[in-house]
Symmetry: C2
């Protein structure tokens, strides 16, 4: 299809995005969306951008890219104890876009939007000068004053993490077919690859987090670095028992083959699990809630006073990772 036969922005929106929009999106026919907040609630707002070859790869399925763009933002909301209310999408499309790519992208976005109960409210579509670039702004709600912050961890609290750590980082590395991957079964490889492509934001944990956690954030830039950020923001430190960090069978096997992969698992990005601190007396109730909704929870350490980087204890040794070992710049 030649450039001049391309649909206008309006027809593109009407065809691909209006069908997946929520009620507040007003059919995507207006300049803006409307959201009536729940009374006695605060809004929580977050924005995350994804760039081709930085945050995803050109060969990734369009629906997976869409799901990831929304998922990483919903993950931020979840960590703040916020229930999703909707999102806006800004999409800079390179000249090489095709209708079939965009159709698949919209289907994936619509599916993710339904899965996460986070309706599309609006957006903007522009021409990129370079790689495909997406920016999602997600809006969530918490009862007034109940947003879970990053700055409020207390010495003595337990450090908890949901799900499994390190799968996504190894899933990304797997694409280069490293030697260690030869020992993994096809299922194990598929598991790791899927975890990189398809983050599972823990939005169902939001209510339990605001009821029980003293501080929380999502693990997007690696467990070690994100824990260090949260402890620094709270003016405390932490001690982590590395063997309590939940690893999948695939990662555990890879670490046996190549022990430096443990560092990759602990410092790699894209986990999109929830890292939180919980007062000891709240742990049982928090765990019951997590169990009830089927989200695995591991206690991996404890908040301590001090300003040093968190310590990871492993095999009788103590290890402190550089803060920001993973950087966007």
């Amino acid at each position: 299809m030649s450039r001049s036969e391309r649909p206008s922005e309006d027809s593109l929106i009407a065809r691909f995005f209006a069908p997946i929009a929520g009620e507040g999106g007003l059919g995507l026919k207006d300049d803006a969306a409307r959201l009536t907040p729940t009374p006695s609630h605060d809004l929580v707002l977050t924005t995350d951008a994804l760039v081709e070859r930085v945050h995803f790869l050109p060969e990734d399925a369009p629906g997976s890219i869409a799901r990831k763009a929304l998922g990483v933002n919903v993950s931020d909301l979840a960590a703040k104890g916020a229930d999703p209310a909707g999102f806006l999408l800004s999409l800079a499309l390179p000249d090489s876009w095709t209708e079939s790519w965009l159709a698949d992208f919209a289907v994936g976005l619509g599916q993710a939007s339904r899965d996460f109960s986070c309706p599309l409210l609006g957006g903007d579509t522009v021409k990129a000068r370079g790689a495909l670039t997406l920016s999602v702004t997600a809006v969530g709600q918490v009862p007034t004053g109940r947003m879970v912050q990053r700055t409020t961890a207390q010495a003595g609290d337990l450090v908890c993490v949901t799900g499994i750590i390190g799968d996504a980082a190894l899933g990304l590395k797997l694409r280069a077919a490293p030697a260690w991957s030869n020992d993994l079964s096809p299922d194990e490889k598929a598991h790791l690859a899927d975890r990189y492509l398809h983050p599972q934001p823990r939005y169902r944990l939001a209510a339990a987090l605001r009821d029980h956690a003293s501080a929380a954030m999502d693990v997007s830039d690696g467990l070690a670095g994100d824990l260090a950020k949260m402890m620094r923001a709270s003016g405390v430190s932490a001690v982590v028992e590395a063997d309590r960090v939940p690893l999948s069978a695939a990662v555990a096997k890879a670490v046996q083959t190549s022990s430096d992969l443990l560092d990759v698992a602990l410092t790699g990005g894209d986990d999109y699990e929830i890292l939180c601190t919980v007062p000891e007396k709240a742990l049982d109730s928090f765990r019951q809630e997590a169990d009830r909704i089927g989200i695995p929870l591991s206690v991996i350490g404890r908040v301590v006073s001090g300003h040093d980087r968190p310590v990871f204890r492993m095999n009788g040794l103590e290890r402190r990772y550089d803060v920001g070992s993973y950087q966007h710049f």
Copy 2:
């Protein structure tokens, strides 16, 4: 400065953006921003992306780019009758960025944020693969149910526009030093150039719009095309007296030199004025409000029933412009 000496995203945020953040931004230390909505108000949300060489030029001052990115979003809020509550910025920076560019960008953004009473709440900074790409999501508030829509113009209403039309479109064309520009004085050229670079969102008109306008949108893609969009969305048409469309002395002079520039003025983009429809009986009150806050207002035509594209009457002729004469794709 070599790549490896570049500050991390966290230090970049702390240095350039945290100082200009509003209270809801929580010092930009958290994953998300918090906004406590005014009771009995709806939120209005809009997002607009700007791409280098599409929406601005590499040689534009960084502060001007920042102001435009925020301004075009605040303009959308204003057209919906919404008072600004805050914004989030997603910034994809190409590898060639410099600290001085970013410092100037942040100063311009902070100034615009204060001018428009629209505080920075949060953002994301990522590495671009290609041109500088910015996406702003702005949040505004209106009393519940009072958002001014695009779909509610009524036959018989007057068609009004604020300020001056066509300056920005000619200001952009001026950069190629066309023959017609030889007749303009340096001041006239500077005026047109400035109007392209520095849109003046009409945020102070928001309250008057929700009190008096039956429908509204901002003029970003050209008066003729945007009017056609609003009429179509409302299921009506319009008749415009072209000689009532407010032009600056500079544009009027340019049109005298080259008559086809009138089409450029009427169909070009980047005006960021407000186009609205007002019931005849509400006009006096609306004009009084606009006068009081110093925003010029012109009645340029009338909404009529029908589904044709709006007619522009000029010199005894009738002209219908193609809808979407300006397209992002």
